[in-house]
């Protein structure tokens, strides 16, 4: 605030310099703001175009696919119809195997997501609030595992599954649990890392107060750490869900000759058939986009900022 000279009238002079200041500040910000907005819009469009194209293809009759590009629908919206979806849900869903692969995808994604979230939360709790020696070393090793690319592990894990199968009589290779186990193992380092960072922000005294007040570790986890960590757990769930849902490589290898395929495998195989059914590819892809979107929006409300406000001070 600028100093007002005593000679000027009280009241009015105080507001004027402030207004001037604000205006000059705004005009200084505006050009960079505009550039920022342009960059954001351009990159958003860039990212969205393929998805929009796919959506429009799924809404155009199959016969038009060979005749004109999807963008013609932008000028002739009358092309758009729900007939592809109607066909899919009326007869194609079961007959073409869409429903089966949808269920297979869910059978893999839901347990893999839940297990990663639960195990990561528990492990991170122990690493942050536990009182055993060597916690920081274990955490460092886990963070180190983040850099292991899954591609290098595919073949060794297949071999391990075989060894496990020889020993126990159950070879997870080619089964849904086999895929889930792989996803959980490779989701954990990131999950633990994320939850560890979040739990580290919870004041230790909160747990100590609970310990003095008679709570066991399990109760502290369930009643204090878990509810406070909901935003982090929700983001982890979304990340993990999308990652597993969109996975093709792991499913392709670990499902082996299993007669059930995931949605990604299903779509992938549709593109390989000679008479490619573009209507079923586009509608199937839209379904595979919608499910993560539903997950995202249903967990979005947990991203409440400042859940820790009022904890201390």
């Amino acid at each position: 605030m600028s100093v007002v000279s005593p000679a000027t009238k009280p009241g009015s002079p105080a507001t004027k310099p402030v207004n001037l200041e604000r205006r000059s500040l705004l005009s200084a910000i505006r050009p960079s703001r505009a550039i920022l907005n342009i960059v954001l819009v351009v990159s958003a469009v860039f990212w969205l175009v393929p998805t929009i194209g796919l959506a429009i293809i799924s809404l155009r009759p199959e016969s038009l696919f060979q005749q004109s590009g999807w963008w013609t629908a932008l000028t002739a919206p009358s092309q758009l119809t729900l007939s592809n979806y109607q066909t899919l849900f009326a007869q194609g869903l079961v007959a073409r195997g869409v429903l089966d692969s949808l269920i297979t995808s869910l059978e893999i994604t839901v347990p893999a997501t839940l297990l990663v979230t639960i195990i990561s939360s528990l492990t991170a709790y122990s690493l942050v609030f536990g009182r055993w020696p060597g916690r920081s070393v274990v955490f460092l090793v886990i963070v180190g595992l983040l850099v292991v690319p899954i591609q290098v592990a595919l073949i060794p894990v297949v071999q391990e599954y075989r060894v496990f199968g020889d020993l126990s009589g159950f070879n997870p290779f080619g089964t849904i649990p086999g895929v889930v186990i792989f996803h959980v193992a490779f989701g954990l380092p990131f999950g633990i890392f994320l939850m560890y960072n979040f739990y580290s922000g919870i004041p230790k005294e909160m747990l100590e107060a609970g310990r003095i007040d008679g709570a066991g570790e399990w109760q502290l986890f369930r009643r204090v750490a878990l509810p406070l960590g909901l935003p982090a757990a929700a983001s982890l769930m979304i990340f993990q869900f999308i990652w597993v849902w969109n996975d093709l490589l792991v499913a392709l290898i670990f499902l082996g000759n299993n007669k059930h395929a995931t949605l990604t495998i299903f779509l992938f195989e549709q593109t390989r058939t000679l008479a490619a059914n573009y209507w079923i590819i586009s509608t199937g892809a839209m379904i595979s986009i919608f499910i993560p979107l539903i997950v995202f929006f249903s967990f979005q409300r947990y991203f409440v900022r400042g859940v820790l406000a009022g904890a201390v001070k």
């Binding site: 003095i212 008679g214 009022g310 201390v312 001070k313």
Partner: protein, 352 residues
Amino acid sequence: MASVTFDHVVKRYTSDLTVVKDFNVEVADKEFMVLVGPSGCGKSTALRMLAGLESISEGQIRIGDRVINNIAAKDRDIAMVFQSYALYPHMSVYDNMAFPLQMQHMKKAEIDKRVKSASSSLGLGNFLDRKPRALSGGQRQRVALGRAIVRNPQVFLLDEPLSNLDAKLRAQTRIELQKLHRDLGTTFIYVTHDQVEAMTMGDRIAIMNAGILQQVGTPGDIYDHPANIFVAGFVGTPTMNFVAATVQDGVATASGFHVKLPKALPAAKGILGFRPEAVTDRIPDPDSAMEMKVDVVERLGSDQFLYGKVGGDSVTARVDPRIKVEPGDSIKLGLDTRTLHFFDSETELALL
């Protein structure tokens, strides 16, 4: 019976980092004991060992006759109020206070009764449904107290519970805490770095410095008979005057004055200590009068403190507020010889 005994307690983090050294204190049942000392001296560590949040490296801590070294925190029947309050932000005030009782699997009706009675006595009756973030600092502090009160523990531990409050609220809460102690009739152990809090609240005070217990006693005891230079300088504002002096034939001679000691001491060099209120404009004994060159004058209404030089030594005096003194003036002051202290300059222990 809930006396607390620290018996030769040591806390060592690493072989060369010992933060509490040979700590011995006995806190009587129902006593209000204040643990005070400068920041980092190990007060919280001592308290946290008692609470079961830190392991005990050596020695024993007993509650009553029970050695608690290897008893889990939750089984020590202790409640603790943290400096940061450590409230659960996702729970209402009611649930925050009910939490310790739920952990004891108490009946719902009994929990409700205890929470209601504690909250109404703390003036929190209208806030039971609120989350901590919707409370003021003072209200949060009372919720933290309430969470301890509902448990009806054997021992209450408080680690600087007032340091996040403003000055006025702090003074008010100080009185409320003393009342609470009287009403509950429970042993209180209260940690602070503020000597005013210690002097006003404690039945007894334990003063620590650098992990070592310096002195335990009533506030009056510690003020009048500090055991060493640290305690003498830590307690009282403004701090005690310390001047180098030589004792010969029962007379201590400093650079700017000399004074007859009330008790015979062997001839020695040492540190003469006297509180500002012992140096006044009243001159009981012309022999020990001194001439002060005043540097700073501090008028507090009821008191007037003069900071200046007597000979080569810095001295603080408390004079009648009606006397007009300006910086640069010289003023003649007298020394009350009844409250003199003399410290060994090597060991820093009180000889007088």
